[in-house]
Assembly symmetry: C2
Homo-oligomer: 347 residues x 2
């Protein structure tokens, strides 16, 4: 026997490229604006000597500021190293049964990867040709449900009514609503956590709060589920959030004015980009996110992706069935998008 038999072999998730050279980066749905000046202040004022000590394992100050902001109690909030960490912990915690969990075929591709690494059986449910979910598909015997709302990479938002119906009709399993992009549009399911005991809502500061580099994600849920999540978290790593992340997260959530300002700017640019794309003959579902998932008139997405790249403009292309004629274009600043359209028109 060899040790190879003991090794967990997996096909990992491939994140969007992080080129080291200066490019127009519209490939990972980052925010084109700086984090809140309060984040800069918090980091500047950080007590470097205190770094010799472990950070607060329960992340009390960050949890409390999130709870306060969203009108929840502290025991309804969980924090982690980006929403990837939060979602990973959710998969590990809530999907330990034998029945397959379900999620759409076109969605955040990490769901399949987590199911795979934790050996969770799963079944993907095709979206319709319009990239919408069919609610009745989710009313079935299952080990858990995951819905990104708004969805990525499609940008499509489902109604809260639909989300609630799925939560309501799945009382025997946990429903995770991944709201990474909710700040840019759509209706949040956060209110459902006081109404149902089987729903978890996840969020991130990487997109709308311009803190991708700090790795801060969070989840809302009934206190009982958050307790289960924390038990697993404390069985994996006692201290996941380092001191700068705790301080920056608190500072960011407390600066609502700045948040609203940059979020509104991204939304305004997105609406303008929709018009431009339409004029160029691109087709897309209405986006409620900080990206647009669009099909070029000739469907030659791969070719355009490569040509943009040659011009130092990075967008995301997924070489996968059903979506290989689409580009996912993150919303940059107005200047970046002007440059993008300039190059696109030449192509």
């Amino acid at each position: 026997m060899s040790f190879e038999e003991n090794i967990r072999k997996v096909v990992p998730y491939t994140p969007g490229e992080q080129p080291q050279k200066k490019v127009i980066k519209l490939n990972t749905n980052e925010c084109p604006y700086s984090p809140s000046p309060r984040v800069a202040q918090a980091i500047k004022e950080m007590d470097i000597d205190a770094l010799r000590k472990y950070p607060d394992p329960v992340c009390a100050s960050l949890v409390s500021s999130l709870a306060k902001y969203y009108g929840l109690s502290d025991d309804q909030v969980f924090v982690g190293v980006g929403s990837d960490d939060v979602l990973s912990m959710c998969f590990l915690t809530f999907f330990a049964g034998q029945k397959p969990i379900i999620f759409p075929d076109i969605t955040y591709s990490f769901y399949e990867v987590w199911a795979d690494v934790y050996r969770i059986p799963y079944k993907v449910i095709p979206l319709n040709d319009n990239f919408d979910i069919n609610v009745s598909d989710y009313i079935c015997d299952n080990g858990g449900v995951v819905i990104a709302n708004p969805n990525a990479p499609t940008g499509v938002a489902e109604s809260l009514e639909n989300i609630e119906e799925i939560v309501k009709k799945n009382q025997s399993s946990i429903v995770i609503v991944d709201e990474a992009y909710i700040d840019f549009g759509g209706e949040s399911a956060v209110g459902l956590i006081n109404k149902y005991d089987n729903v978890i809502v996840t969020r991130t500061m990487s997109k709308s709060r311009a803190l991708a580099g700090m790795r801060i994600g969070y989840a809302f849920g009934p206190a009982k589920l958050i307790k289960y999540l924390n038990d697993v978290k404390f069985s994996v790593n006692s201290y996941t959030m380092n001191m700068p992340a705790l301080l920056a997260g608190k500072a960011a959530i407390e600066d609502d004015e700045y948040f609203t300002e940059i979020r509104d700017k991204v939304v305004a640019t997105r609406e303008w980009c929709k018009k431009e794309l339409k004029e160029l003959g691109f087709t897309f579902r209405d986006s409620k996110t900080n990206f647009i998932f669009a099909r070029p008139p000739k469907g030659n997405a791969k070719e355009i992706f490569e040509k943009l790249k040659e011009n130092d403009i990075y967008v995301r292309y997924f070489n996968k069935p059903r979506i290989n004629e689409y580009l996912r274009i993150s919303i940059g600043t107005d200047d970046e998008m002007k440059k993008f359209f300039e190059v696109l028109k030449k192509i």
Copy 2:
């Protein structure tokens, strides 16, 4: 059926207390000195605007500086959110077989917790009454081996000869050598990674480099094992290390002079504390770490632990068979230890 059946129920690891009030904190093996001034510099110079972007997923700059420092190649180094994250990933990656993994009964108690959360079968092997391992106990059919060297909470270091024997005789399983405390004494197994294909050595910046609050751990291993580890890591969270951690880790590893200075200070204080404890009738195995695991003359460890706490001096007490007459005392500054002995003598 209820969703409870799908939930992973665990008994989490309990970290040492992180009291919010000012105390003499000798309970979590932190460094009593500040991090390197270069860390302060790196944080001060950090480009806050860059936080809007994801950090480098492969952590190239930190990995390279570690590889350079330890004379390894980049593909032999893995980094994570503290050595807890690194060890957790190792358990998930390398212990996916059916055979029980083995580790000592008295050791870092997180090993049992990781085995439990990932449903890994395990068997604990009693240390002898002197807290030493018996090498022949580890030469058996197993799914993996974990040895902390020097061991915690005992402080005992095994010879490199013994460690190598265990690695050599376990070619069919991965042997993890947890060297969280190696900077304070003992012989590192890092040289074995170029000699054997089944060994992983883990480290942390939380103790000897005074960066517990930044959460930086790392592992060395043959390139093939590091690749497996990264595949699993990229299946859990693409970006585990945030930007401040990447910058601080690099700065810390590059300041060898400061590292040596504070490490030597801790070691000098430890040697002095050993003498004091001996005079007070405490018994202990010779410690090669930044703590001393000592039995008070009357074995009344719990009582002393509580009385110290009343005096705002926190040490660690484990209410567990075989070690419930011991205190684990982290090494503080000379002043902190003087105060500790002052109070201890009164008790």
